[in-house]
Subunit: 428 residues, 4 copies
Amino acid sequence: MKTIDSSFLASHNYSLARHAHHDYEHLGEQLARRDIDIETVRQQVAAFGVAIPSWGVGTGGTRFARFPGQGEPRHVFDKLQDCGVIQQLARATPTVSLHIPWDKCSDWGELRQAAASAGLAFDAMNSNTFSDQPGQAHSYKYGSLSHTDAATRAQAVAHNLECIDIGQALGSKALTVWVGDGSNFPGQQHFRRAFDRYLESAQQIYAALPGDWRMMLEHKICEPAFYATVIQDWGSSFLAAQTLGPKAQCLVDLGHHAPNVNIELIVARLIAAGKLAGFHFNDSKYGDDDLDAGSVSPYRLFLVFNELVAAAHEGVPFDPAYMLDQSHNVTDPIESLMTSAVQVQRSYAQALLVDRAALDAAQEANDALTATHLLKQAFQTDVTPLLQRVRLDAGGAIDPVAAYRASGYRQRVAGERPAAVGGGGGIV
Amino acid sequence: MKTIDSSFLASHNYSLARHAHHDYEHLGEQLARRDIDIETVRQQVAAFGVAIPSWGVGTGGTRFARFPGQGEPRHVFDKLQDCGVIQQLARATPTVSLHIPWDKCSDWGELRQAAASAGLAFDAMNSNTFSDQPGQAHSYKYGSLSHTDAATRAQAVAHNLECIDIGQALGSKALTVWVGDGSNFPGQQHFRRAFDRYLESAQQIYAALPGDWRMMLEHKICEPAFYATVIQDWGSSFLAAQTLGPKAQCLVDLGHHAPNVNIELIVARLIAAGKLAGFHFNDSKYGDDDLDAGSVSPYRLFLVFNELVAAAHEGVPFDPAYMLDQSHNVTDPIESLMTSAVQVQRSYAQALLVDRAALDAAQEANDALTATHLLKQAFQTDVTPLLQRVRLDAGGAIDPVAAYRASGYRQRVAGERPAAVGGGGGIV
Amino acid sequence: MKTIDSSFLASHNYSLARHAHHDYEHLGEQLARRDIDIETVRQQVAAFGVAIPSWGVGTGGTRFARFPGQGEPRHVFDKLQDCGVIQQLARATPTVSLHIPWDKCSDWGELRQAAASAGLAFDAMNSNTFSDQPGQAHSYKYGSLSHTDAATRAQAVAHNLECIDIGQALGSKALTVWVGDGSNFPGQQHFRRAFDRYLESAQQIYAALPGDWRMMLEHKICEPAFYATVIQDWGSSFLAAQTLGPKAQCLVDLGHHAPNVNIELIVARLIAAGKLAGFHFNDSKYGDDDLDAGSVSPYRLFLVFNELVAAAHEGVPFDPAYMLDQSHNVTDPIESLMTSAVQVQRSYAQALLVDRAALDAAQEANDALTATHLLKQAFQTDVTPLLQRVRLDAGGAIDPVAAYRASGYRQRVAGERPAAVGGGGGIV
Amino acid sequence: MKTIDSSFLASHNYSLARHAHHDYEHLGEQLARRDIDIETVRQQVAAFGVAIPSWGVGTGGTRFARFPGQGEPRHVFDKLQDCGVIQQLARATPTVSLHIPWDKCSDWGELRQAAASAGLAFDAMNSNTFSDQPGQAHSYKYGSLSHTDAATRAQAVAHNLECIDIGQALGSKALTVWVGDGSNFPGQQHFRRAFDRYLESAQQIYAALPGDWRMMLEHKICEPAFYATVIQDWGSSFLAAQTLGPKAQCLVDLGHHAPNVNIELIVARLIAAGKLAGFHFNDSKYGDDDLDAGSVSPYRLFLVFNELVAAAHEGVPFDPAYMLDQSHNVTDPIESLMTSAVQVQRSYAQALLVDRAALDAAQEANDALTATHLLKQAFQTDVTPLLQRVRLDAGGAIDPVAAYRASGYRQRVAGERPAAVGGGGGIV
């Protein structure tokens, strides 16, 4: 299923290689002056990957409208094909995260094989109890895992168990649970009872987790519920994860917080508590905008990675899962996902450049100016040549978007994939 | 098209009348002690009306899902029927505001007659250039009135002119223009050029306004655009309205502001500048939540009316348009709209109770405690008996929701209106 | 130390009693129709009290300026005198909460006696490690309990132990710990290490708590630190309280949250987790504005009490501490504190009027409109006559502010207390 | 008044020059590939300057505490000396902005001479009607330019006129007017009347402006008033500036907006309306935090400069004033101001690197991904070598903070300047 011709790619890279090489050498020299070995950083960055959400390759939408793009994927195999192109060119997204029932298919073995042939594996499974499916016995209009009605809760639990089953067939090792449960009016929901019902349902899911799986709980301050949500913040997420047990952890979506909240601080707290599951990367200016990662606040993304790299540096045991979770309303999803993967990778690479010993010393001495300068120094370093080299080494494109556009891939699939109204996209 | 049986209504009211009468008398006595004549207030409240948006009688939705209700209206005639019931019972909503193309029909004369027979007239027309319609020549994916492409702008202008034409056929006197134009990425849009193009398009619409019409510009901080919008706040709305001319004014939707913004202060500024067009009433906790008016922050709604009543009291010339604009995701829309109309009416009635002379004196003396107490005194007054009486006098229901539920209206129309997936609702 | 003449007060009440009595009767009749016994509610409200912060009787200030009022208290005995007047007239504030070192005096026994003679007892003690005192060995410029320097931490711990000692001498049963610790720059502070140091210091304080004491941890999103704080939200507060042990609980100040955060939901979570310590009541529109309780968002205050009354109704074991914590910049602090105490009492009384059985049923049935209406019905009830009666029964004033103004108390103390620049006020 | 020894500085630079030179060459080569001539950019950056606020060289504070630093300036001459050091080393701050009465002195001619000898000129004058001065006839507790009392307003106007007089003596060409006027309670202030009184007072100040002066109106959403302010946002600022006349313009402080507000969009609107006065640069995470410019959101600062450079590129006539306005609570103010000046300069330099022609084309084509990439490409460019070179050329330090620390300046002045409690600092 490799879909960009390799000789085309080689020729594309050839034209850019000379300058890329030269810039890499200069960067290496600059880093050496700071006692950083660029090769070491390169290896760390090369080992880094972020998952693509299968729904991300479709055009997103808002409650007002969805404006489809050309050649949108029709089903999970088309989505895998698009993910394959992303991975082929950007070489930072070795896994795909599925959403059930959107990605249901008749033969999971066939799907697993298709993924493997595209060089992809499967990341966390995502269940969906925030919308009703045709033929569904009980509606989630008033909630799912926390619904007042036991039969509706049981249906939601069963759906999650099915997701685990599918995930096992695909080699996944985690279930991400995000619910839209909440209320739109003061008084609509009994806060404590709703939380208790959520816990009771979640315990049933937890009990069905395979031994090597994780359950990742995703909190969100609002939307689709606009007065209160059941898992509204990391505090409630932590309470739930703690109640459930060691395999339950808290997932941080960068757009799910109240305004002004310090996200990197939450990351630090969850690391310390041993409860950081991982991330849904995106960016936001107003709410859960699901903009491209780092497109509005690149320094914030860097500061999140600064916490992660610091914890790893200090030997804190943790293993966060990384996934993009964006809504591509005005761009080609493949271009956005490649760009975002590179942006995430960039933040990671920059965080690796922080002089940890000097930072520790400045922090101990309360030398705030030096401490913050050390972060800025790393952030201001243009690691583009490093990222280009990592892609090149792995067989990818020096400039993924340019290569993609030149390849004509989108036009090609547009011919094969008739325009679909609606589709699986638009919801993130 | 009167749809609740009048003898049923009479009997419903009969059972509640005695206590209502008694409470009204006590309220009158309390107000008399404050030198307020309850009859005068009653007449003012009786003259107050707020428009129903035609799309409000359908079940709303979010980008994640829409959970339809029973017996949802299929077309504008069904919507008018529902609006008729609302007006019949709550007697505070004498007009309906249409949305084109959602409310298109083949015979506007027939529609006008249907409205008249339901005791309804038509408020402002609403154009839609934030979603694409089947067969549309140019897409609004990248904007409408501010689009970079002249043909797309022309199409959007033409649509607004059509809305004016329809409005003239229906007796409307205003056009509300809200656009989803904006951008999702820094750099995507040239801010100044986009605003200029908006103005140029708006000027063409303005030029086509009949002499006794108003053009109401609606601003919004975000959504569907999540990095920047073209008319993002009252400042930009005012700039545009001032450029267009005296018939252009600024409409305030209570959910379209940045967090923490003082909305009643904006109302005061627009009154002073002669540019207050009117309101889209709803409530919000997080963003443009479109919750029921006053359901989360009833005091804020009161404070808005306090500005309006103060300006009227002082003889400031202005004539704001009032409309509900809510998304009913978890309630019966008819119940929500009646309740919200009464809540808006309540806020108006309470604002009429403020002792203006005493407030002026306290403000002059910088006696903040007394000033704020005077507002609180009015707000804490339970004007329920007054509102009941106003409804009763006008032939409505003492308890509109109870009467509605007892009437079986919803069940009746559910039989007549087959469940539709999607429909015109869900977007506000 | 009783400071308003009792015959004056009696005469003041006499003039208002007739209408108050009449209104109370009508309210009783209305409530009886809802199956609520007004006498039962009256007893519950009469038993309710909220503490006054000693610093609240001084005029507050901002970082820009402090504008002193007349007759400001010079020391803790003056403050007690003012608190005595508040309690004498409003009868809702039986306790005072001290702040050390601001309220230090040479004879705690004398102070305890002075309080008793004013009908006051002592609520929680408040330590201060967010500002430096003359002669202090180590500065809190870079933190206190979480400082990188062990000697500074030890000093901060010792100060808290001193507060416990003083509290024991005064009959207090709780220590409130709020620290200004945090950072102003990314990188300034090592998030996890700072939190660990905080915990280590807090454990030493916890270890010194008398058996019947509580330690109340107060979180705050920002200010005085403006990039990150050590106990930034209820999640971190909960983590800390859980680590410390059962006597540590989380205190909720209504102004210490990110914008849009649902505070009543946090209250519900803390109740469920057995970790709700109590409240610092105030109101806010923008940040930690420390405005008078319920002055901007009275419905929010009611919704908080709705959670408390619901939990009590259901027999959840908890015992929240109530304190006002406001900055009185433009009003007479005595007037503001009386008004706020009554506002808090009002919210409690209204929450007692909620029909819990009907609410439970509506919640179970997902009848959001009825559920929220039941809350609104209680909130819209004007309980003024009930509160007047509770005060009258207890020997207070029907209209506390009017009585206070008529009494000439402020003018009297202004003669005795020379104007002080600065003073202990202004910080909350 | 030159205060760092020039041979010391030369030697400091000598040790860094080789690498700086090499990096500059490589940057030049990279830019040349993008068709950018580094020399042209260097000249533009060299011509750029940002004013230092005189109060910024003192340690700031919050309402909770102020923690003084060593060697704080005692008076305006000390402040000028510190500003001279900043300009000597960083070469980006050729002007100083004074605050009256904090900077009052007995001989303005002497001050002007002292400034000239330090290579400094005077930027905008800042009046202060938000705090009371000893001996002042009327208090600003309840407002200044908008006060209900005419005598208080007259006093505030007279103070502004005095600031103009002083400014004329010093060669200033602008008056910045920020007032703390507003209210803490709903109802406290009559919104429209307060705004009218503000306008009337401002008109008197405007009338006294010399022909070549500007009046810069500064808006702020809150603080010190916490319910409403008189000039709360750019809309009110614009209304006022428009009423006053062409010499009145709107000043944008980056920390004075509601959460989530798009500041660069406001900048674009003010440019288009011909009303952009200039900036108070700082950064914020929560409110008016007055953190160091670009320390939290460097990309936001860049996006503001992107608007400025775009407007200049397009020949829009405007002339914004640039000033830092920060509160240095935990750093040496001299270090923070040098770092911030360089950060502002960096943002300007990066904005100069944007490929305007390509951006225009991408915007026209709605190619959002390319458009945003062009901004990111400029932002990711590490212009450090360019900034170093600009400083070196102008006689400054390659690494200003390192040079400053090595110079021992702070220790030296600490010996000369006894520690002052309070002082003129702390308020921004």
